[in-house]
Symmetry: C2
Subunit: 328 residues, 2 copies
């Protein structure tokens, strides 16, 4: 197998912990260290014996790390860290603000190119695996329509929005695909679907003492952008139930491409994910792409990259020969 790929983790929230768990499942990789903005002694690694350093130690560790996986958030962390760290390291991140991807790509590409580094942005499942399936689906069936459905899954942004409503002590929000719409699309029909027809939203809310349940419900279901265009259900639960029943972070969804290859013949391609843990799955994607980034860098392929630029075989620890013999 040769030398293990040496991985650094920048940031130790849910994603960073998921990357640790994934490295432990990939014998061709080794964890060099976890880099954090918190005081290192406050960070509890998942992996026994893992080294924890301050973020400022990174620059001195440049020759110990083959690929640095950036586990910060897309809002605050990555817009600054991505370009800075791509000047020093091969990197992988999960930048997921779809509308700002071209801008972020350019900001990472320049320093990566200038310093001969390979920096893969926006890996994960959406953007990521779902994006690949949108592109391949359209390429295989140019005459057709693409549908993306999300859920059932916990939405962090919508859960945060609920918690900002006056009278709410805590809560979570699940996005669910509307089953009838999914079935129509799966059957080969190509309906035009409104936002309301594609997804619905289920909220589980803990009220503050003395709060007016009906006022809270009304504030949630009419909230612009977040809920007003959806059929939203609000369920009131106890703090105990919230802790006990809603601590997991499941998610998933489907990308369906439905098209015709001739007047007579319809074809349907479906890619689906059922994720017990959204952050752990995203982390697993980041780690597989770290392998690809390491190889692309060794081949001299530098600059910013996306999942669209990565050949599938580069994600596997197996050699091209082995893949052809065993998995083609």
């Amino acid at each position: 197998m040769g030398q293990a790929i040496r991985i650094g983790i920048a940031g130790h929230g849910n994603l960073g912990r998921g990357v640790e768990a994934a490295i432990a499942r990939n014998p061709d990789m080794e964890l060099v260290g976890i880099y954090t903005r918190r005081p290192p002694e406050q960070v509890q690694p998942v992996t026994a014996g893992a080294a924890v350093f301050g973020m400022d130690a990174l620059a001195q560790h440049a020759d110990r790390i083959d690929v640095l996986i950036l586990c910060g958030g897309s809002k605050e962390d990555l817009p600054q860290q991505g370009p800075e760290l791509a000047a020093l390291f091969n990197t992988v991140d999960s930048f997921d603000t779809h509308a700002r991807i071209p801008e972020y790509f350019a900001a990472v590409d320049a320093p990566a190119r200038a310093n001969g580094k390979t920096a893969l942005i926006s890996a994960g499942w959406d953007p990521g695996m779902f994006s690949i399936n949108r592109v391949i689906g359209e390429a295989l069936l140019p005459e057709g329509a693409t549908y993306t459905f999300w859920g059932k899954g916990l939405s962090q942004g919508h859960s945060d929005a609920i918690r900002r409503v006056p009278g709410v002590a805590g809560g979570v929000q699940y996005t669910l695909p509307v089953e009838e719409a999914v079935e129509r699309v799966r059957s080969g029909e190509r309906p035009e679907l409104t936002t309301r027809e594609k997804h619905r939203r289920d909220c589980y809310v803990v009220l503050k003492e003395g709060a007016d349940a009906e006022a809270v419900r009304e504030a949630i279901v009419t909230m612009p952008h977040y809920f007003d265009e959806y059929d939203t259900t609000v369920n009131f639960i106890s703090a105990e139930e919230l802790r006990r029943d809603h601590a997991a972070m499941p998610h998933g969804g489907f990308v369906i491409r439905s098209g015709n290859t001739s007047v007579e013949n319809a074809q349907v391609i479906e890619y689906g994910l059922k994720l017990g843990s959204n952050p752990e799955f995203t982390s697993s994607v980041l780690v597989a792409y770290a392998r690809a980034v390491h190889r692309m860098h060794q081949q001299g392929d530098v600059g910013a990259k996306t999942v669209f630029d990565v050949a599938p075989g580069l994600l596997s620890p197996k050699s091209a020969e082995q893949l052809r013999a065993e998995q083609l």
Copy 2:
């Protein structure tokens, strides 16, 4: 968009006709000609005005064709044509004898490399799209199990086997996944499944006059390799029913990767196809890979390739910038 990609089609069976239909749906491609071993005047193109030539005209047309799509069969045609034509053209084929892929790859790689050509072998859906999903699934979830189910679909090999049984005038065979097994795998369970537990086989048979139905049924269900390891149903129908109800060539199936990213969290990835026409879908895959082959050749990436070597973005007519802005 620049110059259209100039495509030649070698062989005009179901696959070749499907390639014609697919080219008509891809505005960045143009059909140079159909090359056939039959007398050209006996070939009816799908596309009005398409040029038909004898196979022996190919060598003189080398500078008119960017990519030649080989539409012959894996048993007789490709083992000879693949290596021969990869010396003269960039090629794409659907070689699907899984066990002989390494040998075929080597036989195509040498002449392609020697002549600076790019030759992609074994494109389609299995091998092809299913293979990609087996490799990516395993790379993302290294701790887990992969399942491939086929069907509901018409199996050419098994239909041929039925038609060789004495007393049979005609017939078709459908492979079906066992729904209970699929549901167990989808649920995240990782069962060990026998051949019989994964698929069943349905046959529709037209008897010759005076043939003994029970003897025919017995000969089919006990046929070694083809049927004896499966639960097989034999339905007797009229020649008229065979023509009317069983002329289509549907197929499909699923690749499911089920794995854990931590002790607590299970994840399930599923890729599924529901194909109205198996050959037309395979042809659409060949045409998308012809685009990728053209680009890889322009980049100097020569020799034999498989779907594992092709970055998803190369399959799309859109530019990398456009894909990042619109589909990531």
